[in-house]
Each structure stands twice: as structure tokens, then as C-alpha cells.
């Protein structure tokens, strides 16, 4: 679950811009290590912050291996299993993935992994494009509390949280510096 509102409660800084940078660089190395056929990898970001994170990871990979990795966008709004139960209808955006997907490894990229439902919806969306050889999951923050049997392959930082806490991520925003904060209720 992503948390958008500004809270008046105190925000505890978890990561600053530099910490994020190092985490993403490490993830880039891990991706390189685990995927010998690097050209088959697609970094598919979930809008909006996942897209920025995917781009940065792709930049790191290019710097290290001198290879351009395909990136894409997976909009999960129309794949959610809770349409009609949320107070606000989620805004939908166009998805973009390179086809065909057979033989490719699609790495879902998101900012926060929480219940796992977004990742499940992302896999659903990917399936409508085709049948990739592998799907992996990269998350900047894993905050626990999974409701589905989903795990991340690449994690920037494990952050144990309580259910009533919120995790705020800012990355690539014009108005605010990059960072991750924990907001207690």
C-alpha cells in the first residue's frame, strides 16, 4: 500500500538520497549476477515511483555492463481485485511492455512491497501481454505484512513496520529530495 498524504505526525527518516543510491546500485549488481542473459531482462516499473526506480537501475546496469536494458510500465489499476471496494476509483494509465515476452525475464519494480496484492496484480497484467520465461520482483522497501505468498527477489531495505504506520517514499520528485520516511500514527 502506498501512502500519499502528508501527515502531521513526526516522520522518521529511514533512508536519504545517498542511501537510496547505494541500495539501487547494489540491486543492479544483484540483477547482473543472477541473470546471465542480461539482454533478456525487462525492468517493468509500477507507476509512478516504480518507473523512476526501474530507470535508475537500468542506468546503473548500463554504467556497469555497457548494456541497454529494456524498461517498461505496468499499470495495475485495471487489474486490481478490489475495484469497487475502495473509496476512490484508481486512475488508470497505459501499460507498455516489449512483446513478445516469451524467453524474457520481467522484473517487476516497485517502491514498497507490503501486502503483495500490487505485485499479484502486476503479474496478472504481465500475463495478458504474454508468457515470460521468468518473473522476478524488486522493491526498494520491504515492510512485511504479506497477505499473499509473494516474496521479493531484490530488496533495497527490509523495514519492519506496524500496520498503523505509513512508509513515505519520494524519488525523482521535482519538489522534494529523495528519501524514505516512516510515519507513526
Amino acid at each position: 500500500m502506498k501512502n500519499e498524504k502528508q501527515d502531521s505526525s513526526p516522520a522518521v527518516p529511514i533512508m536519504d538520497a545517498e542511501a537510496i543510491r547505494r541500495a539501487l546500485r547494489r540491486i543492479a549488481h544483484e540483477i547482473i549476477e543472477r541473470n546471465p542473459q542480461l539482454a533478456q531482462v525487462v525492468l517493468a516499473g509500477i507507476p509512478s515511483r516504480g518507473v523512476e526506480i526501474a530507470k535508475r537501475i537500468a542506468d546503473f546496469i548500463r554504467g556497469i555492463e555497457k548494456i541497454d536494458i529494456d524498461t517498461g510500465i505496468i499499470d495495475v489499476a485495471m487489474h486490481r481485485d478490489d475495484v469497487g471496494t475502495r473509496p476512490e476509483l484508481p486512475v488508470v494509465r497505459a501499460s507498455k511492455l516489449p512483446v513478445p515476452l516469451e524467453e524474457r525475464t520481467v522484473i517487476i519494480v516497485d517502491d514498497v512491497l507490503y501486502t503483495g496484492r500490487t505485485a499479484r496484480a502486476a503479474m496478472d497484467a504481465i500475463n495478458s501481454f504474454g508468457r515470460p520465461a521468468q518473473i522476478q520482483l524488486a522493491a526498494l522497501i520491504d515492510r512485511g505484512h504479506r497477505e499473499l505468498p509473494i516474496r521479493a527477489d531484490y530488496v533495497g531495505k527490509n523495514l519492519p513496520t506496524a500496520a498503523n504506520e505509513k512508509v513515505r517514499v519520494r524519488i525523482g520528485s521535482i519538489n522534494e529530495p529523495d528519501g524514505v520516511w516512516l510515519i507513526k500514527e
Binding site: E88, L89, F129
Partner: protein, 310 residues
């Protein structure tokens, strides 16, 4: 996209704001992409029931809504006037109430009476989508027309859109007029004075009865189908006369700017309102309209269907 959608019904473009219209068009971008996937299905309306209630018959619009619903994983039932109990004297309200008792979530209604969708929308919890009510509105047609213009020309504001044909009895014309004027286009209506009375100028458009004067500075030409049923015979003398004065013939098409779009809601009367070669020519975007119609209807069903159940 800062606007949120809050209407359970889509009755027409007259009551929508420019922001709401733009929001629908932006949402359509996402759904158009679904049509290019290998599996053209998303679960957004899974488990929801959509009823196509076409009291006035139509194959094209109904098929488009049906496909849109399938792509959103909804279940679809089709009811027409002849197969419904309306023929047995049941009122529209009772028929719709019965459908609601069967837990229909979305009702797509085409009816010959203006105001019928509003009538049902006020009385049912289900979403009501207007697929055409008399001569009043046909919002999804106008939305797909707007989407097509935006797709091909990048914008709506400032373009000169010319609508030609039987405007007086046309719901497609009215919805287009409302949408185009709200989004800042310049609109000119062209046709016989009996079918395009000057009264329309009060809606913020221009009226002309001389097609050759208007075509050279048109950015978009939208042709309406000419009907010559019994009740129209008092309005103009015949198809031949209409084509001579208002048909988009090969010769007239030469007056158009090279990037002018040619549109038609279909079905086309080849040789009447438009020459065959012009309909198939490079400037024609008639088939794009059909593709876009499907995406627009998916967007509309997603937005309204999501509200009704929330």
C-alpha cells in the same frame, strides 16, 4: 490527471465539465493499450453484470459495448425491444426494476425517447450508460470522435470542426456540439436550412448552408448519415438533391486541406453523404473511430461501473 470521476451514470456531454471530458479521454489511452495485448482482457469489472438494453435497435453500438464489457471481464446480457416484455405493455420503469432485481450492475440503454436514460438513472442503483436517446445525446459516439481528433491532431482547442448532415434529428451532432464547444473547438454546422435551422447558433456554433465555402478551412469534417424516412420527406426533397448540394463527393474532397480528417459515425451511405473513394481515402479515419469507440466504451464502463458499486 487530477480529476476524479464521481458519476454513476453517463447520460450526455451537456452536463459534463471540460475536465471530466478530458479525464475520460485520458482514461481511454490506458484502455486502448489493452487492445494491443495478446490477451485482451483485464479483470476490472470481473463479476459485474452488464445489460445491453437496446429498445431502439443497433448492431454496431451494441457490439462495441458488448466487446468492451467482455474485455473488462464483465458478464453481458443483450435485450432488445422485441425480445423484452415492453411489447407486452410493461413500462420501461418496471422492466428496468426487474433487471435490477437480477443484480444488473450496468445498464447500457438505447431508446427512442429523449430523457429515457436520465429517467432510469434517477430510479436505479445500477449505472446507466446512454447509448443514444432519441435525438438528444449519444455521448460515447461524441467521446470517440473527440478522442480520434485528439489522437490524430494532438488537440481539440482551436480546430475548426465541420459537421454536415441532418443535424436537427441527430443525437450524434448534439453530443459532438456540446463536447467540441466545451473543449474550445470552432464548430460549423452544414446542411439544408430545414435540417440545420439558425436556432443552433445559440449553442455557440456557426451555421452554413453552403458547403463549398466551409470545406477549405475545415480541420475535421464529420459526416452524418442521411436518413430519408417518411417523416423526413417534408424536410428535403430527396437523396439526389442532398448529395448534389451537401454530399462529400470526390470533387468536393479536393477542396479540403491535406491534413483535414474525414469522420463518419457509420454506417456509411456510400454515394450519398460521402463518395466511396473518399470514405476509403487517406484522410478518412472512419475505421480508427471504430477502434477508438471500443476503448472509449471500456473507459466509460470502468469509470461509471466502478462508482456504482463503490
Amino acid at each position: 490527471m487530477s480529476t476524479r470521476w464521481s458519476r454513476k451514470d453517463l447520460l450526455g456531454l451537456r452536463e459534463l465539465s471540460a475536465e471530466e471530458i478530458n479525464f475520460i479521454l485520458e482514461t481511454t489511452d490506458a484502455f486502448k493499450q489493452v487492445g494491443t495485448r495478446e490477451i485482451k482482457k483485464v479483470p476490472a469489472l470481473r463479476g459485474k453484470t452488464l445489460v445491453n438494453f437496446f429498445v431502439e435497435p443497433s448492431t454496431r453500438t451494441r457490439t462495441s459495448f458488448e466487446l468492451a464489457a467482455f474485455r473488462l471481464s464483465a458478464d453481458v446480457i443483450n435485450i432488445s425491444a422485441t425480445t423484452s416484455s415492453l411489447t407486452k405493455g410493461e413500462t420501461l420503469k418496471d422492466t428496468a426494476r426487474n433487471l435490477e432485481a437480477l443484480h444488473a450492475d450496468i445498464l447500457v440503454l438505447r431508446h427512442s425517447s429523449a430523457g429515457a436514460p436520465q429517467f432510469l438513472g434517477n430510479r436505479l442503483k445500477a449505472s446507466v450508460i446512454n447509448a443514444g436517446d432519441g435525438a438528444h445525446e449519444h455521448p460515447t459516439q461524441a467521446l470517440l470522435d473527440l478522442y480520434t481528433i485528439r489522437e490524430k491532431r494532438g488537440k481539440i482547442a482551436g480546430l475548426h470542426v465541420v459537421i454536415i448532415g441532418d443535424i436537427l434529428f441527430s443525437r450524434v451532432a448534439r453530443s459532438n456540439i456540446f463536447g467540441l464547444v466545451k473543449l474550445g473547438a470552432r464548430v460549423t454546422l452544414v446542411g439544408p436550412s430545414t435540417l440545420v435551422p439558425r436556432e443552433f447558433e445559440k449553442l455557440g456554433v456557426e451555421v452554413s448552408h453552403k458547403i463549398d465555402n466551409v470545406l477549405p478551412n475545415a480541420d475535421v469534417v464529420n459526416l452524418l448519415r442521411i436518413q430519408h424516412e417518411r417523416q423526413r420527406k417534408e424536410y428535403f426533397p430527396g437523396i439526389g438533391e442532398y448529395t448534389r448540394f451537401f454530399g462529400l463527393t470526390k470533387e468536393r474532397a479536393k477542396l479540403l486541406k491535406p491534413d483535414c480528417l474525414i469522420m463518419h459515425p457509420g454506417p456509411i451511405n456510400r454515394g450519398v453523404e460521402i463518395d466511396s473513394e473518399v470514405a476509403d481515402g487517406l484522410q478518412s479515419v472512419i475505421l480508427d473511430q471504430v477502434t477508438n469507440g471500443l476503448a472509449v466504451r471500456m473507459a466509460v464502463l470502468y469509470l461509471c461501473g466502478g462508482i456504482a458499486t463503490a
